[in-house]
Protein backbone atom coordinates (compact mmCIF):
# COMPACT_ATOMS: atom_id res chain seq x y z
CA UNK A 1 0.00 0.00 0.00
CA UNK A 2 3.02 2.27 -0.11
CA UNK A 3 3.34 4.70 -2.97
CA UNK A 4 5.35 3.45 -5.91
CA UNK A 5 7.82 6.12 -7.03
CA UNK A 6 8.25 4.32 -10.34
CA UNK A 7 4.59 4.95 -11.13
CA UNK A 8 5.07 8.67 -10.84
CA UNK A 9 5.60 10.62 -14.04
CA UNK A 10 8.54 13.02 -14.28
CA UNK A 11 8.46 15.85 -11.70
CA UNK A 12 6.21 18.69 -12.66
CA UNK A 13 4.05 16.74 -15.03
CA UNK A 14 1.42 15.77 -12.50
CA UNK A 15 1.06 19.28 -11.16
CA UNK A 16 0.81 20.62 -14.69
CA UNK A 17 -1.97 18.20 -15.52
CA UNK A 18 -3.74 18.97 -12.24
CA UNK A 19 -3.70 22.68 -13.06
CA UNK A 20 -5.12 21.97 -16.50
CA UNK A 21 -7.90 19.88 -14.95
CA UNK A 22 -8.71 22.70 -12.53
CA UNK A 23 -9.08 25.36 -15.19
CA UNK A 24 -11.08 22.95 -17.35
CA UNK A 25 -13.52 22.36 -14.46
CA UNK A 26 -13.76 26.12 -13.97
CA UNK A 27 -14.95 26.29 -17.56
CA UNK A 28 -17.85 23.96 -16.77
CA UNK A 29 -21.43 25.16 -16.40
CA UNK A 30 -21.05 26.21 -12.77
CA UNK A 31 -17.45 27.44 -12.76
CA UNK A 32 -15.29 26.64 -9.75
CA UNK A 33 -13.14 27.83 -6.89
CA UNK A 34 -10.15 28.62 -9.06
CA UNK A 35 -7.76 30.57 -6.85
CA UNK A 36 -7.84 28.44 -3.72
CA UNK A 37 -7.60 25.27 -5.82
CA UNK A 38 -4.54 26.44 -7.73
CA UNK A 39 -2.79 27.30 -4.45
CA UNK A 40 -3.34 23.71 -3.28
CA UNK A 41 -1.84 21.88 -6.26
CA UNK A 42 1.65 21.12 -4.91
CA UNK A 43 0.35 20.42 -1.38
CA UNK A 44 -2.17 17.83 -2.57
CA UNK A 45 0.13 16.32 -5.20
CA UNK A 46 2.98 15.92 -2.72
CA UNK A 47 0.69 14.31 -0.18
CA UNK A 48 -0.94 11.85 -2.58
CA UNK A 49 2.20 10.97 -4.57
CA UNK A 50 4.97 11.20 -1.99
CA UNK A 51 3.60 10.95 1.52
CA UNK A 52 0.24 9.22 2.09
CA UNK A 53 0.04 5.45 2.39
CA UNK A 54 -3.07 4.98 0.28
CA UNK A 55 -4.13 2.47 -2.34
CA UNK A 56 -6.26 3.77 -5.21
CA UNK A 57 -7.41 0.20 -5.87
CA UNK A 58 -8.65 -0.12 -2.28
CA UNK A 59 -9.56 3.37 -1.03
CA UNK A 60 -10.94 2.06 2.27
CA UNK A 61 -7.96 -0.18 3.11
CA UNK A 62 -7.34 -0.80 6.81
CA UNK A 63 -4.44 1.16 8.19
CA UNK A 64 -4.32 3.69 5.37
CA UNK A 65 -3.33 7.26 6.05
CA UNK A 66 -6.09 9.84 6.09
CA UNK A 67 -6.37 13.16 4.31
CA UNK A 68 -9.21 15.57 4.98
CA UNK A 69 -9.54 18.65 2.80
CA UNK A 70 -11.05 20.90 5.45
CA UNK A 71 -11.12 23.80 2.99
CA UNK A 72 -13.70 21.88 1.01
CA UNK A 73 -14.01 24.64 -1.58
CA UNK A 74 -10.74 23.29 -2.98
CA UNK A 75 -12.71 20.27 -4.17
CA UNK A 76 -11.70 20.53 -7.81
CA UNK A 77 -8.01 20.36 -6.88
CA UNK A 78 -8.72 17.29 -4.76
CA UNK A 79 -10.74 15.61 -7.53
CA UNK A 80 -7.98 16.34 -10.05
CA UNK A 81 -5.25 14.89 -7.83
CA UNK A 82 -7.33 11.82 -6.90
CA UNK A 83 -7.96 11.18 -10.59
CA UNK A 84 -4.28 11.58 -11.44
CA UNK A 85 -3.39 9.23 -8.59
CA UNK A 86 -5.73 6.64 -10.07
CA UNK A 87 -8.71 6.66 -7.71
CA UNK A 88 -11.04 7.18 -10.68
CA UNK A 89 -10.59 7.93 -14.38
CA UNK A 90 -9.61 11.50 -15.20
CA UNK A 91 -12.32 11.52 -17.88
CA UNK A 92 -14.90 11.78 -15.09
CA UNK A 93 -13.59 15.25 -14.20
CA UNK A 94 -15.47 16.55 -17.25
CA UNK A 95 -18.73 15.83 -15.40
CA UNK A 96 -17.88 18.33 -12.65
CA UNK A 97 -20.76 20.71 -12.03
CA UNK A 98 -23.01 18.91 -14.51
CA UNK A 99 -26.41 17.52 -13.49
CA UNK A 100 -26.19 13.91 -12.31
CA UNK A 101 -22.46 14.01 -11.59
CA UNK A 102 -21.15 12.80 -8.23
CA UNK A 103 -18.45 15.47 -8.33
CA UNK A 104 -20.20 18.10 -6.25
CA UNK A 105 -18.86 21.56 -5.57
CA UNK A 106 -17.59 20.37 -2.21
CA UNK A 107 -16.04 16.93 -1.56
CA UNK A 108 -18.44 14.02 -1.24
CA UNK A 109 -17.64 10.59 0.21
CA UNK A 110 -19.19 8.94 -2.83
CA UNK A 111 -16.05 9.94 -4.72
CA UNK A 112 -13.32 7.28 -4.30
CA UNK A 113 -10.55 8.61 -2.09
CA UNK A 114 -12.61 11.29 -0.36
CA UNK A 115 -12.54 10.40 3.33
CA UNK A 116 -15.08 12.89 4.64
CA UNK A 117 -17.50 15.42 3.23
CA UNK A 118 -16.35 18.95 3.87
CA UNK A 119 -17.42 22.39 2.77
CA UNK A 120 -18.45 24.20 5.90
CA UNK A 121 -15.17 25.46 7.30
CA UNK A 122 -13.71 24.36 10.59
CA UNK A 123 -14.76 20.70 10.48
CA UNK A 124 -11.57 18.96 9.34
CA UNK A 125 -9.43 19.03 12.44
CA UNK A 126 -12.10 17.64 14.80
CA UNK A 127 -12.60 14.79 12.32
CA UNK A 128 -8.87 14.14 12.07
CA UNK A 129 -8.67 13.94 15.84
CA UNK A 130 -11.18 11.09 15.70
CA UNK A 131 -9.37 9.28 12.88
CA UNK A 132 -6.08 9.70 14.75
CA UNK A 133 -7.55 8.42 18.01
CA UNK A 134 -8.95 5.34 16.28
CA UNK A 135 -5.55 4.22 14.99
CA UNK A 136 -2.30 5.64 16.35
CA UNK A 137 -0.29 3.89 13.65
CA UNK A 138 -1.62 5.96 10.79
CA UNK A 139 -1.01 9.56 9.90
CA UNK A 140 -3.89 12.00 9.54
CA UNK A 141 -3.47 15.14 7.48
CA UNK A 142 -5.86 18.09 7.40
CA UNK A 143 -5.56 20.87 4.87
CA UNK A 144 -7.05 24.11 6.13
CA UNK A 145 -7.34 27.45 4.42
CA UNK A 146 -5.77 30.38 6.21
CA UNK A 147 -9.07 32.27 6.27
CA UNK A 148 -10.60 29.12 7.75
CA UNK A 149 -8.47 29.68 10.84
CA UNK A 150 -10.97 32.36 11.80
CA UNK A 151 -13.40 29.55 12.69
CA UNK A 152 -13.32 28.88 16.43
CA UNK A 153 -13.78 25.13 16.02
CA UNK A 154 -10.26 24.90 14.54
CA UNK A 155 -8.81 26.13 17.79
CA UNK A 156 -10.97 24.08 20.13
CA UNK A 157 -9.88 21.06 18.11
CA UNK A 158 -6.23 22.23 18.06
CA UNK A 159 -6.19 22.36 21.85
CA UNK A 160 -7.65 18.90 21.94
CA UNK A 161 -5.13 17.43 19.45
CA UNK A 162 -2.22 18.63 21.55
CA UNK A 163 -3.92 17.77 24.83
CA UNK A 164 -4.54 14.21 23.71
CA UNK A 165 -0.96 13.94 22.41
CA UNK A 166 -2.09 13.00 18.91
CA UNK A 167 1.30 13.30 17.21
CA UNK A 168 -0.02 11.44 14.17
CA UNK A 169 -2.03 14.54 13.19
CA UNK A 170 -0.55 17.10 10.80
CA UNK A 171 -2.32 20.26 9.72
CA UNK A 172 -1.30 21.95 6.48
CA UNK A 173 -2.24 25.61 6.26
CA UNK A 174 -2.70 26.83 2.70
CA UNK A 175 -1.34 30.27 3.55
CA UNK A 176 -2.28 32.15 0.41
CA UNK A 177 -3.09 35.25 2.41
CA UNK A 178 -6.44 35.96 0.80
CA UNK A 179 -10.07 35.38 1.66
CA UNK A 180 -13.19 36.42 -0.21
CA UNK A 181 -13.18 40.09 0.70
CA UNK A 182 -9.46 40.78 0.85
CA UNK A 183 -6.28 39.85 2.64
CA UNK A 184 -6.55 37.82 5.82
CA UNK A 185 -4.54 40.45 7.64
CA UNK A 186 -6.96 43.21 6.64
CA UNK A 187 -9.94 41.06 7.64
CA UNK A 188 -9.10 39.22 10.86
CA UNK A 189 -5.32 39.16 11.26
CA UNK A 190 -3.79 35.72 11.72
CA UNK A 191 -0.19 36.72 12.43
CA UNK A 192 1.90 35.80 14.25
CA UNK A 193 0.47 32.54 12.94
CA UNK A 194 3.39 30.22 13.74
CA UNK A 195 3.54 31.54 17.29
CA UNK A 196 -0.16 30.94 17.72
CA UNK A 197 0.19 27.28 16.77
CA UNK A 198 3.27 26.91 18.97
CA UNK A 199 1.33 28.37 21.87
CA UNK A 200 -1.28 25.67 21.32
CA UNK A 201 1.39 22.98 21.68
CA UNK A 202 2.09 22.24 18.03
CA UNK A 203 5.39 21.73 16.23
CA UNK A 204 5.53 24.29 13.41
CA UNK A 205 7.25 24.04 10.05
CA UNK A 206 7.07 26.80 7.45
CA UNK A 207 7.74 26.10 3.78
CA UNK A 208 7.23 27.32 0.24
CA UNK A 209 3.92 25.68 -0.54
CA UNK A 210 4.73 25.36 -4.23
CA UNK A 211 8.05 23.51 -3.75
CA UNK A 212 7.36 19.79 -3.74
CA UNK A 213 10.78 18.89 -2.38
CA UNK A 214 10.44 21.18 0.61
CA UNK A 215 6.83 20.18 1.14
CA UNK A 216 7.78 16.51 1.14
CA UNK A 217 10.45 17.10 3.76
CA UNK A 218 8.09 19.10 5.99
CA UNK A 219 5.20 16.67 5.57
CA UNK A 220 7.23 13.58 6.40
CA UNK A 221 8.83 15.13 9.49
CA UNK A 222 7.38 14.13 12.87
CA UNK A 223 7.74 15.54 16.37
CA UNK A 224 7.14 12.80 18.93
CA UNK A 225 4.42 13.70 21.40
CA UNK A 226 3.31 16.78 19.51
CA UNK A 227 1.03 17.28 16.51
CA UNK A 228 2.58 19.13 13.61
CA UNK A 229 1.50 22.04 11.47
CA UNK A 230 3.03 22.92 8.12
CA UNK A 231 2.42 26.52 7.18
CA UNK A 232 2.66 26.36 3.40
CA UNK A 233 3.19 29.78 1.87
CA UNK A 234 1.26 29.74 -1.36
CA UNK A 235 -0.10 32.05 -4.02
CA UNK A 236 -3.83 32.07 -4.71
CA UNK A 237 -4.39 31.27 -8.37
CA UNK A 238 -0.77 30.08 -8.73
CA UNK A 239 0.13 29.32 -12.34
CA UNK A 240 -2.08 31.89 -14.02
CA UNK A 241 -0.39 35.31 -13.98
CA UNK A 242 -3.64 37.06 -14.88
CA UNK A 243 -5.34 35.98 -11.66
CA UNK A 244 -2.66 34.89 -9.23
CA UNK A 245 -2.52 36.78 -5.98
CA UNK A 246 -5.82 38.43 -6.78
CA UNK A 247 -8.87 38.38 -4.53
CA UNK A 248 -11.19 37.92 -7.50
CA UNK A 249 -9.53 34.62 -8.36
CA UNK A 250 -11.61 33.03 -5.57
CA UNK A 251 -14.34 31.83 -7.91
CA UNK A 252 -14.33 31.83 -11.67
CA UNK A 253 -16.47 30.67 -14.52
CA UNK A 254 -14.21 30.63 -17.53
CA UNK A 255 -15.55 31.07 -21.03
CA UNK A 256 -14.16 29.15 -23.99
CA UNK A 257 -11.62 31.80 -24.90
CA UNK A 258 -10.52 32.26 -21.30
CA UNK A 259 -10.06 28.50 -20.99
CA UNK A 260 -8.00 28.33 -24.15
CA UNK A 261 -5.84 31.22 -22.96
CA UNK A 262 -5.37 29.68 -19.51
CA UNK A 263 -4.38 26.32 -20.96
CA UNK A 264 -1.95 27.96 -23.32
CA UNK A 265 -0.35 29.90 -20.45
CA UNK A 266 -0.06 26.75 -18.34
CA UNK A 267 1.43 24.76 -21.21
CA UNK A 268 3.95 27.47 -22.02
CA UNK A 269 4.98 27.49 -18.38
CA UNK A 270 5.39 23.71 -18.37
CA UNK A 271 7.48 23.85 -21.58
CA UNK A 272 9.71 26.54 -20.11
CA UNK A 273 10.33 24.42 -17.05
CA UNK A 274 11.18 21.29 -19.02
CA UNK A 275 13.43 23.01 -21.56
Amino acid sequence: MTTDPAAEPAPGQVTDRVREHIVAMCAGPEGGHLGGSMSLVEILTTLYFDVLRVDPADPGAEGRDILILSKGHGAIALYAVLAERGFFPAAELATYGRPGSRLMGHPVRAVPGVEMATGSLGHGLPLANGFALADASRRCFVIVGDGELQEGSVWEAAMSTAGLGLDNVTVVVDRNGLQITGSTEDTVPLEPLADRWRAFGWAVREVDGHDRGKLRKALTARSPGRPGVVIARTVKGNGLPSVQGRVDSHYARLGERQLARALSVLRARARRRSS
Binding site: M116, H123, L127, G130, L133, S153, A157, L164
Partner: protein, 305 residues
Protein backbone atom coordinates in the same frame (compact mmCIF):
# COMPACT_ATOMS: atom_id res chain seq x y z
CA UNK B 1 -35.94 0.66 38.94
CA UNK B 2 -36.19 4.30 39.90
CA UNK B 3 -32.99 5.80 38.58
CA UNK B 4 -32.27 8.63 36.18
CA UNK B 5 -32.20 7.52 32.56
CA UNK B 6 -28.75 9.03 32.17
CA UNK B 7 -27.38 6.85 34.97
CA UNK B 8 -29.03 3.72 33.56
CA UNK B 9 -27.36 4.55 30.24
CA UNK B 10 -23.99 5.18 31.85
CA UNK B 11 -23.93 1.97 33.85
CA UNK B 12 -24.87 -0.18 30.88
CA UNK B 13 -22.38 1.53 28.57
CA UNK B 14 -19.53 0.85 30.99
CA UNK B 15 -20.52 -2.84 31.06
CA UNK B 16 -20.82 -3.08 27.27
CA UNK B 17 -17.48 -1.37 26.72
CA UNK B 18 -15.65 -4.02 28.71
CA UNK B 19 -16.64 -6.67 26.19
CA UNK B 20 -16.82 -4.75 22.93
CA UNK B 21 -13.59 -3.09 21.74
CA UNK B 22 -15.48 -1.12 19.10
CA UNK B 23 -17.18 1.01 21.77
CA UNK B 24 -15.79 4.38 22.84
CA UNK B 25 -17.11 6.79 25.44
CA UNK B 26 -16.46 10.39 24.38
CA UNK B 27 -17.01 12.92 27.11
CA UNK B 28 -17.16 16.70 27.04
CA UNK B 29 -16.37 17.17 30.72
CA UNK B 30 -19.95 16.40 31.73
CA UNK B 31 -19.04 14.85 35.08
CA UNK B 32 -21.33 11.90 34.36
CA UNK B 33 -18.34 9.55 34.41
CA UNK B 34 -16.47 10.99 37.40
CA UNK B 35 -15.16 8.13 39.52
CA UNK B 36 -16.33 5.49 37.03
CA UNK B 37 -13.98 2.53 36.62
CA UNK B 38 -13.90 1.51 32.97
CA UNK B 39 -11.57 -1.38 33.75
CA UNK B 40 -10.00 -2.83 30.61
CA UNK B 41 -11.79 -0.20 28.50
CA UNK B 42 -10.19 2.77 30.27
CA UNK B 43 -8.27 3.74 27.12
CA UNK B 44 -11.54 4.08 25.25
CA UNK B 45 -12.91 6.72 27.58
CA UNK B 46 -11.78 10.06 26.14
CA UNK B 47 -12.64 13.45 27.61
CA UNK B 48 -12.11 16.00 24.83
CA UNK B 49 -12.96 18.89 27.11
CA UNK B 50 -15.63 21.56 26.88
CA UNK B 51 -15.71 21.65 23.10
CA UNK B 52 -18.85 20.24 21.53
CA UNK B 53 -17.98 20.81 17.89
CA UNK B 54 -14.69 18.99 18.37
CA UNK B 55 -16.57 16.32 20.33
CA UNK B 56 -18.88 15.50 17.42
CA UNK B 57 -16.06 15.64 14.88
CA UNK B 58 -13.95 13.24 16.93
CA UNK B 59 -16.96 10.93 17.11
CA UNK B 60 -17.42 11.07 13.34
CA UNK B 61 -13.74 10.34 12.75
CA UNK B 62 -13.87 7.35 15.10
CA UNK B 63 -17.07 6.06 13.52
CA UNK B 64 -15.62 6.43 10.03
CA UNK B 65 -12.76 4.24 11.29
CA UNK B 66 -15.06 1.39 12.31
CA UNK B 67 -15.54 2.35 15.96
CA UNK B 68 -18.86 2.94 17.73
CA UNK B 69 -18.61 6.10 19.81
CA UNK B 70 -21.13 7.07 22.49
CA UNK B 71 -20.97 10.84 22.79
CA UNK B 72 -21.87 12.64 25.96
CA UNK B 73 -23.15 16.15 26.38
CA UNK B 74 -26.35 17.94 27.33
CA UNK B 75 -29.18 17.81 24.81
CA UNK B 76 -29.12 21.54 24.17
CA UNK B 77 -25.37 21.60 23.47
CA UNK B 78 -25.58 18.53 21.25
CA UNK B 79 -28.39 19.82 19.09
CA UNK B 80 -27.92 23.56 18.97
CA UNK B 81 -24.25 24.31 19.58
CA UNK B 82 -22.98 21.28 17.67
CA UNK B 83 -25.82 21.01 15.18
CA UNK B 84 -23.75 21.64 12.09
CA UNK B 85 -21.41 18.84 13.03
CA UNK B 86 -24.39 16.52 13.58
CA UNK B 87 -25.63 17.42 10.13
CA UNK B 88 -22.42 17.56 8.11
CA UNK B 89 -20.04 15.18 9.86
CA UNK B 90 -22.45 12.54 11.17
CA UNK B 91 -25.83 12.54 9.37
CA UNK B 92 -24.47 13.37 5.91
CA UNK B 93 -22.09 10.42 6.13
CA UNK B 94 -24.60 8.19 7.94
CA UNK B 95 -22.02 7.29 10.60
CA UNK B 96 -22.85 5.09 13.62
CA UNK B 97 -22.41 7.72 16.30
CA UNK B 98 -24.62 7.42 19.40
CA UNK B 99 -25.42 10.72 21.06
CA UNK B 100 -26.37 10.45 24.71
CA UNK B 101 -28.12 13.76 25.25
CA UNK B 102 -28.78 14.37 28.92
CA UNK B 103 -30.73 17.18 30.60
CA UNK B 104 -33.39 17.01 27.89
CA UNK B 105 -36.65 18.93 28.03
CA UNK B 106 -37.06 20.86 31.27
CA UNK B 107 -35.01 18.40 33.30
CA UNK B 108 -32.30 20.97 34.01
CA UNK B 109 -35.02 22.77 36.01
CA UNK B 110 -33.72 25.76 37.92
CA UNK B 111 -30.61 25.98 35.74
CA UNK B 112 -32.81 27.84 33.29
CA UNK B 113 -33.45 28.08 29.56
CA UNK B 114 -29.76 27.99 28.58
CA UNK B 115 -29.80 24.39 29.83
CA UNK B 116 -33.33 23.42 28.80
CA UNK B 117 -33.68 21.50 25.52
CA UNK B 118 -37.12 22.12 24.09
CA UNK B 119 -36.22 22.13 20.41
CA UNK B 120 -34.05 19.05 20.11
CA UNK B 121 -36.71 16.64 18.84
CA UNK B 122 -37.75 19.06 16.09
CA UNK B 123 -34.14 19.39 15.03
CA UNK B 124 -33.16 15.76 15.27
CA UNK B 125 -36.12 14.30 13.46
CA UNK B 126 -35.35 16.54 10.51
CA UNK B 127 -31.86 15.07 9.99
CA UNK B 128 -31.86 12.19 7.49
CA UNK B 129 -30.87 8.79 8.83
CA UNK B 130 -30.94 9.55 12.54
CA UNK B 131 -32.78 7.24 14.91
CA UNK B 132 -34.34 9.44 17.60
CA UNK B 133 -35.33 7.82 20.88
CA UNK B 134 -36.78 9.12 24.14
CA UNK B 135 -36.80 6.23 26.63
CA UNK B 136 -39.60 6.50 29.17
CA UNK B 137 -37.69 5.00 32.08
CA UNK B 138 -34.41 3.42 33.11
CA UNK B 139 -35.27 -0.04 31.79
CA UNK B 140 -36.32 1.38 28.43
CA UNK B 141 -33.04 3.30 28.37
CA UNK B 142 -31.05 0.10 28.78
CA UNK B 143 -33.06 -1.52 25.99
CA UNK B 144 -32.48 1.45 23.71
CA UNK B 145 -28.74 1.48 24.39
CA UNK B 146 -28.41 -2.27 23.82
CA UNK B 147 -30.45 -2.16 20.61
CA UNK B 148 -28.61 0.87 19.26
CA UNK B 149 -25.11 -0.61 19.40
CA UNK B 150 -25.26 -2.36 16.03
CA UNK B 151 -27.57 -0.01 14.13
CA UNK B 152 -25.82 1.12 10.95
CA UNK B 153 -26.71 4.81 11.26
CA UNK B 154 -26.55 7.48 13.96
CA UNK B 155 -28.73 7.48 17.08
CA UNK B 156 -29.94 10.31 19.32
CA UNK B 157 -30.82 9.16 22.83
CA UNK B 158 -32.88 11.75 24.68
CA UNK B 159 -32.12 11.35 28.36
CA UNK B 160 -33.15 13.11 31.53
CA UNK B 161 -31.35 14.25 34.62
CA UNK B 162 -33.19 13.11 37.71
CA UNK B 163 -34.75 9.80 38.71
CA UNK B 164 -38.17 9.02 37.32
CA UNK B 165 -40.47 6.14 38.26
CA UNK B 166 -40.27 2.74 36.59
CA UNK B 167 -43.02 2.42 34.03
CA UNK B 168 -43.11 -1.37 33.86
CA UNK B 169 -44.30 -1.11 30.30
CA UNK B 170 -42.70 -4.30 29.02
CA UNK B 171 -39.96 -4.56 26.42
CA UNK B 172 -39.51 -1.53 24.16
CA UNK B 173 -38.35 -2.20 20.64
CA UNK B 174 -36.75 0.66 18.72
CA UNK B 175 -39.07 1.85 16.00
CA UNK B 176 -42.19 0.22 17.52
CA UNK B 177 -44.57 2.40 19.49
CA UNK B 178 -45.90 0.80 22.68
CA UNK B 179 -49.62 0.69 23.35
CA UNK B 180 -49.69 1.14 27.12
CA UNK B 181 -53.45 1.45 27.47
CA UNK B 182 -56.23 0.47 25.12
CA UNK B 183 -58.89 3.11 24.50
CA UNK B 184 -61.81 3.68 22.19
CA UNK B 185 -62.83 7.32 22.46
CA UNK B 186 -59.51 9.03 21.95
CA UNK B 187 -55.80 8.35 21.85
CA UNK B 188 -52.96 10.06 23.68
CA UNK B 189 -49.51 9.86 22.12
CA UNK B 190 -46.64 10.65 24.49
CA UNK B 191 -42.87 10.43 24.72
CA UNK B 192 -40.51 10.74 27.66
CA UNK B 193 -40.91 9.76 31.34
CA UNK B 194 -43.11 12.63 32.58
CA UNK B 195 -45.36 12.96 29.53
CA UNK B 196 -46.02 9.20 29.53
CA UNK B 197 -46.78 9.16 33.25
CA UNK B 198 -49.05 12.20 32.88
CA UNK B 199 -50.86 10.53 30.00
CA UNK B 200 -51.49 7.39 32.04
CA UNK B 201 -52.76 9.55 34.91
CA UNK B 202 -55.06 11.35 32.47
CA UNK B 203 -56.40 8.03 31.19
CA UNK B 204 -57.30 7.12 34.77
CA UNK B 205 -59.02 10.46 35.32
CA UNK B 206 -60.92 10.12 32.05
CA UNK B 207 -61.98 6.56 32.85
CA UNK B 208 -63.73 7.94 35.92
CA UNK B 209 -65.71 10.16 33.54
CA UNK B 210 -66.47 7.24 31.27
CA UNK B 211 -64.05 8.28 28.54
CA UNK B 212 -61.82 5.53 27.19
CA UNK B 213 -58.40 6.98 26.31
CA UNK B 214 -55.68 4.89 24.72
CA UNK B 215 -52.10 5.76 25.66
CA UNK B 216 -49.33 5.12 23.16
CA UNK B 217 -45.67 5.56 24.08
CA UNK B 218 -43.96 6.88 20.96
CA UNK B 219 -40.45 6.42 22.33
CA UNK B 220 -38.93 6.30 18.84
CA UNK B 221 -39.77 9.51 17.04
CA UNK B 222 -37.70 8.49 14.04
CA UNK B 223 -38.23 6.17 12.31
CA UNK B 224 -41.84 6.75 13.28
CA UNK B 225 -44.10 3.74 13.75
CA UNK B 226 -46.67 5.03 11.27
CA UNK B 227 -48.66 1.80 11.29
CA UNK B 228 -49.33 1.79 15.04
CA UNK B 229 -50.00 5.52 15.10
CA UNK B 230 -52.49 5.37 12.26
CA UNK B 231 -54.26 2.29 13.55
CA UNK B 232 -54.49 3.80 17.05
CA UNK B 233 -56.11 6.91 15.63
CA UNK B 234 -58.75 5.15 13.55
CA UNK B 235 -62.29 5.43 14.89
CA UNK B 236 -61.43 7.85 17.71
CA UNK B 237 -62.80 11.34 18.15
CA UNK B 238 -59.40 12.96 18.59
CA UNK B 239 -55.71 12.52 19.29
CA UNK B 240 -53.66 14.34 21.90
CA UNK B 241 -49.90 14.58 21.88
CA UNK B 242 -47.89 15.12 25.06
CA UNK B 243 -44.21 15.96 25.16
CA UNK B 244 -41.59 17.81 27.18
CA UNK B 245 -40.70 19.98 24.21
CA UNK B 246 -41.97 23.09 22.53
CA UNK B 247 -45.27 22.34 20.88
CA UNK B 248 -43.89 22.87 17.41
CA UNK B 249 -41.90 20.38 15.46
CA UNK B 250 -41.53 17.51 17.91
CA UNK B 251 -43.89 14.65 18.69
CA UNK B 252 -46.95 16.85 18.10
CA UNK B 253 -45.64 17.86 14.73
CA UNK B 254 -44.80 14.30 13.76
CA UNK B 255 -48.22 12.99 14.78
CA UNK B 256 -50.09 15.85 13.10
CA UNK B 257 -48.16 15.31 9.87
CA UNK B 258 -48.71 11.57 9.95
CA UNK B 259 -52.41 11.67 10.73
CA UNK B 260 -53.04 14.45 8.21
CA UNK B 261 -51.61 12.20 5.52
CA UNK B 262 -52.97 8.84 6.55
CA UNK B 263 -55.98 9.23 8.86
CA UNK B 264 -57.19 12.81 9.22
CA UNK B 265 -57.95 13.28 12.89
CA UNK B 266 -58.30 16.31 15.12
CA UNK B 267 -55.00 16.68 17.03
CA UNK B 268 -54.44 18.70 20.19
CA UNK B 269 -50.82 19.26 21.14
CA UNK B 270 -49.72 19.54 24.75
CA UNK B 271 -46.18 20.66 25.42
CA UNK B 272 -44.18 23.71 26.36
CA UNK B 273 -45.92 26.83 25.05
CA UNK B 274 -44.08 29.20 22.75
CA UNK B 275 -41.96 30.74 25.48
CA UNK B 276 -38.79 30.29 27.48
CA UNK B 277 -39.29 29.39 31.13
CA UNK B 278 -39.89 32.66 32.93
CA UNK B 279 -39.42 31.57 36.52
CA UNK B 280 -37.29 29.32 38.66
CA UNK B 281 -38.53 25.83 39.19
CA UNK B 282 -37.50 22.23 39.26
CA UNK B 283 -38.59 19.96 36.42
CA UNK B 284 -41.89 18.98 38.05
CA UNK B 285 -42.70 22.58 38.97
CA UNK B 286 -42.10 23.75 35.42
CA UNK B 287 -44.12 20.89 33.92
CA UNK B 288 -46.98 21.79 36.22
CA UNK B 289 -46.61 25.52 35.59
CA UNK B 290 -46.70 25.08 31.82
CA UNK B 291 -49.52 22.55 31.81
CA UNK B 292 -47.79 19.30 30.93
CA UNK B 293 -49.90 17.41 33.45
CA UNK B 294 -52.48 14.63 33.68
CA UNK B 295 -55.17 17.14 34.67
CA UNK B 296 -54.50 19.30 31.66
CA UNK B 297 -54.51 16.31 29.32
CA UNK B 298 -57.80 15.07 30.77
CA UNK B 299 -59.38 18.52 30.58
CA UNK B 300 -58.28 18.86 26.96
CA UNK B 301 -59.67 15.42 26.18
CA UNK B 302 -63.07 16.32 27.59
CA UNK B 303 -63.32 19.31 25.27
CA UNK B 304 -62.68 17.02 22.31
CA UNK B 305 -65.04 14.16 23.14
Amino acid sequence: MTVPTREAYRDLLVKLMADDPRLYCLDSDTGLFSGVDFGPAAGRYVNVGIAEHNLMGVAAGLAASGKIPFVNTMATFATTRALESLKVDIAYSGLPVRIAATHSGLSAGHLGPTHHALEDLAIMRSLPGFTVVTPADATATEEAVAQSVDLPGPVYLRLGRKATPALEAGPAELGRAQILREGGDLVVFACGPHPVLASLAAADLLAADGVRAAVVNVHTLKPLDVETIVSSARNVKAAITVEEHWRSGGLGGAIAETLSEHAPTRVARIGMPDTFAQEVGGQEHLLDHYGITGERIAATALTLC
